[in-house]
Amino acid sequence: MSPAEQRRQLETVHLTALYGRRPVVKDVSLLFPANTVTAMIGPSGCGKSTFLRCLNRMHELSQGGWITGRVLLDGQDIYEPAVDPVQLRRRIGMVFQKPTPFPTMSIHDNVAAGLRVNGKKSRGETDQIVERALRHAALWDEVKDRLRSSALALSGGQQQRLCIARALAPEPEVLLLDEPTASLDPGGTQRIEELCHELKARYTIVIVTHNLQQAARVSDRTAFFWLGRLVEYGDTADMFTKPKEKLTEDYLTGRFG
């Protein structure tokens, strides 16, 4: 399937993100086709995380955070005044660098947390969704006998998969992953990467990563950021084998970063 045939799920148009007067993402226009994994790579402080946080309007919650430009979800500008950012975030799931299970909630309630704000559901329905989300996050078999125990009893890798399950439960259209494996061991990392492959059949996935091998393994397309600018964007295989820009090549070959 060529990019032209794919539904344009998420798109940024001349997106600039600022803290006060300081721009950290500069004039980025990017297209995230549906059912693909797009990796965002680049050195620390290049703006890739801030860019990601613009996609579900989390950036504006930071002190002094605001943007210019547009972000389109299925053709609609999510920064239009008519769009409620709270409602929007229910359509765009996000997983953070460190696992963030809610410490006062059980495993079950953690996964169900996003459902509750989406309106009341019957207990049977909730249980079904929780099980499905945990299965999709490849955690079900490990926790099915202790859904009522504290989420903090899980290992770091399990907690991160729990957070993915929590993000999946409300059935978002897009999944944003902000360095989801940064605090995991190789085993946990591998599980999450496998998960990306399985989940892209159902979601549009954007993953920020420091790990170039990870980007190469999980993503269909890669965007390379440097000093807040988008330097290069294209098919992952192409970019890693024959980058168009000198800067990209230097970064990929480890000459800086």
């Binding site: 919650l61 996000m94 963030t100 410490p103």
Partner: protein, 281 residues
């Protein structure tokens, strides 16, 4: 080389000794007070002391049942008023209090924390006792509540601030509205700490005397009416201890021991709450 090492060892030993001695002084004072209370108070404690009301001076027997119940009522009502306001203020300060209003509220709370409790008593007398025309338990509760609010507000704020920012973000990213994030995730995560702060606050005001002197006033009889004067343990101790009778002094010690016991129970409850939090993690 060796001389320097010797000197270091000597200084270290000396300092350790000094710190231990100072700590000993503090603990010694505490144990002297506790010991004195037990020695002088325990002998007067019997069942009647808890279930009987005071008898006129010179008669044998009698107890402080009215004061125990009075303290429970006055402190209970004070907590009912003070805890919601205090916790709410703390939540506001921690979650939304970064602006000028937050700064002002925090400043006022700090000033009020340092206000002598007798000043709060005068305040309650001016605004409640005088307009109503008579002393009342309610006025005492309000005075204690006013003392409690800044204390609870600041400890709640500290506890809520301890909740990692990442949890807030996780909830917001799930599509939680801000108020719901504050209540369902942040406040709930800090709950054990908030409860502990509340128990310590309640325990502290339970022993307050000055604000009750011209609000709840005291009452020789058993009374549960909020609009009438009411006895409290601290007031009873004050009356007995400053009275001329040997018997009263004895009773004052016993009442002090009872009050201490109640505060100790509350502190133990606070400790228990902390333990629960750590077990949960």
């Amino acid at each position: 080389m060796s001389a320097r090492r010797l000197r270091r060892r000597f200084t270290s030993g000396l300092m350790t000794l000094l710190v231990c001695a100072l700590c000993g002084v503090a603990v010694l004072a505490l144990f002297l007070i506790l010991g004195d209370l037990v020695v002088k108070g325990a002998s007067s404690l019997d069942w009647n002391f808890f279930v009987k009301n005071p008898v006129p001076a010179g008669q044998a027997g009698g107890g402080v049942a009215n004061a125990i119940v009075g303290t429970a009522i006055i402190v209970g009502i004070a907590a009912l008023i003070g805890l919601p306001v205090g916790i709410g203020t703390g939540l506001y300060l921690a979650e939304y209090g970064s602006g000028r209003l937050g700064w002002t509220v925090r400043f006022i709370a700090d000033v009020m924390n340092g206000t002598p409790s007798i000043v709060v008593g005068i305040f309650a007398w001016t605004w409640l006792v005088k307009p109503m025309g008579h002393f009342s338990a309610l006025a005492g509760s309000v005075a204690l509540a006013v003392l409690m609010v800044p204390m609870i507000a600041r400890t709640s704020e500290e506890m809520i601030r301890l909740v990692p920012h990442s949890l807030r973000e996780a909830a917001l990213a799930l599509g939680y509205p801000r108020w719901r994030t504050s209540l369902r995730i942040v406040a709930r995560t800090a709950l054990a700490g908030i409860v502990t702060g509340c128990l310590v606050g309640v325990a502290r005001i339970a022993g307050e005397t000055a604000p009750l002197l011209f609000t709840a006033l005291g009452n020789l009889n058993f009374s549960t009416s909020l609009l009438q004067p009411m006895q409290a343990l601290s007031l009873q101790i004050f009356t007995y201890a400053t009275g001329p009778f040997e018997d009263w002094h004895r009773m004052a010690w016993a009442a002090a021991l009872v009050l201490m016991g109640l505060v100790l129970l509350l502190s133990l409850a606070a400790r228990w709450a902390i333990r629960q939090r750590h077990v949960a993690r």
